[in-house]
Point group: C2
Chain length 255, copies 2
């Protein structure tokens, strides 16, 4: 079956309190996409965070002593560093220009996913505003899924994604940060291969593969394509959560 990714480009700028499911449904209509059971909507983190009012004005932030020290080492704005610390469990690496953390949501990423671009708050200098990740992206995804189920009757999956760097490779890649109604990982251990042998370990990060693909369609530079419709996802939909994708600290060989 062909796997198709259709961009939903027709969305207004998102403001706190906007009804994202309604906006997504309108965008689907504009793109002339009719939802089917088993379809997936991939949504960029930015519009979820904006609808949830996760903008912070840096002028309201007072950096702690720890933030001031880390700001010096990373050559970053101490107020931004304060927010990074408040969104993180642990700082893993610091270099000029870079702070890698374990986010409070469990994944490892740069700057706790806090973004400066395409953010404009309600007042003051636009450059003072930054955007935090959603409070609970799994729950955000679930809410979108529920409301679309109520509106259309369709059972779909919803994936919220962000762009993450990788330890050993250059460039960012679309990565799942919130999941509802589709598998995070698909466990193919014990399936038989072509010659009837048992495969020992093949656990596929299906949600991350989907996130990467959708990110390709979204591009990076603007908010223009904040959501992508997916048809043909090859695995059965089911309940899941981001936790499926997170390697525990204990099993992380590269901290």
């Amino acid at each position: 079956m062909t796997l198709t990714f259709t961009p939903l480009p027709q969305m207004p700028l998102i403001y706190p309190g906007d009804n994202l499911p309604d906006l997504l449904l309108a965008a689907l209509q504009t793109a002339r996409v009719t939802l089917d059971d088993g379809d997936i909507l991939v949504v960029a983190q930015k519009i979820v965070s904006k609808a949830e009012g996760r903008m912070v004005n840096l002028t309201t932030v007072t950096p702690s002593k720890e933030a001031l020290e880390l700001a010096k080492r990373s050559e970053k704005d101490p107020r931004l560093v304060e927010l990074i610390l408040s969104e993180s469990k642990e700082v893993l690496r610091v270099r000029p220009g870079t702070i890698i953390v374990e986010h409070r949501l469990g994944f490892v990423c740069a700057s706790a996913g806090i973004d400066h671009s395409n953010v404009r708050g309600t007042s003051g200098n636009p450059e003072d505003w930054v955007l935090l990740l959603p409070e609970d992206p799994d729950h955000s995804a679930l809410e979108i899924r529920r409301r679309i189920k109520v509106a259309t009757g369709n059972r779909i999956g919803v994936l919220i994604i962000d762009s993450h760097g990788r330890a050993w490779r250059l460039g960012t890649i679309g990565t799942a940060i919130g999941i509802s109604g589709l598998p995070g990982v698909v466990d193919e251990r014990g399936w038989q291969d072509l010659f009837g042998y048992r495969l020992k370990i093949t656990t596929v990060a299906a949600a991350d593969e989907l996130a990467a693909a959708a990110s390709l369609v979204m591009g990076e530079a603007a908010e223009g394509i904040p959501a992508v419709h997916v048809r043909g996802f090859p695995y059965p939909l089911r309940e899941s959560s981001l936790r499926e994708l997170i390697r525990s600290k204990k099993n992380d060989m590269f901290r």
Copy 2:
């Protein structure tokens, strides 16, 4: 533009010396896909390696002292470990069941990408055969691209992919190991965002995002879908190489 991934399922088992471009063209025809300029073929590493005769029979391998020692620590077959070492620049981590290396091709992966499943050599016990990565996957991709250009006149991109683990997340993800005719990374530094600000750094690993998506279509368990046709790749095709995607050891904060 919609991005579509069409599986090319109709391929025979691959043997050393097989003409992969011809087999891919036949598979395209069976799938009723007509190539266009700008299309991309994503090919699983396994069939490239098999066509290139990269199978090794473990009974022909004599483990070195280093391999014997590493086999003990990793609880792996010393002959397999000998091959892993011969395909690697450096061993990064060792745990029971796991050896993470820098492959001679520059990327970090488990077991130097050497695979046990779906391999059957020309003689002896099938379980004795393993499959190494292609000698030079960029060159393998270029050869496929060239021969398809000669046969059809079409300018396409060719990507060879494998499944890689990640440092901090569970599950494997399709990852580029050979590239010809499409960008590895797309540099969006300096583009303007919606409000006219300059984005500081956005370098997108476009080839890896594509690899992940194609891997989703291929699945993992069998050799059944070893190639995927892609239409709608959103970036201009150009010459490139795998090197674009590899973070240098010097800039790797997580070794």
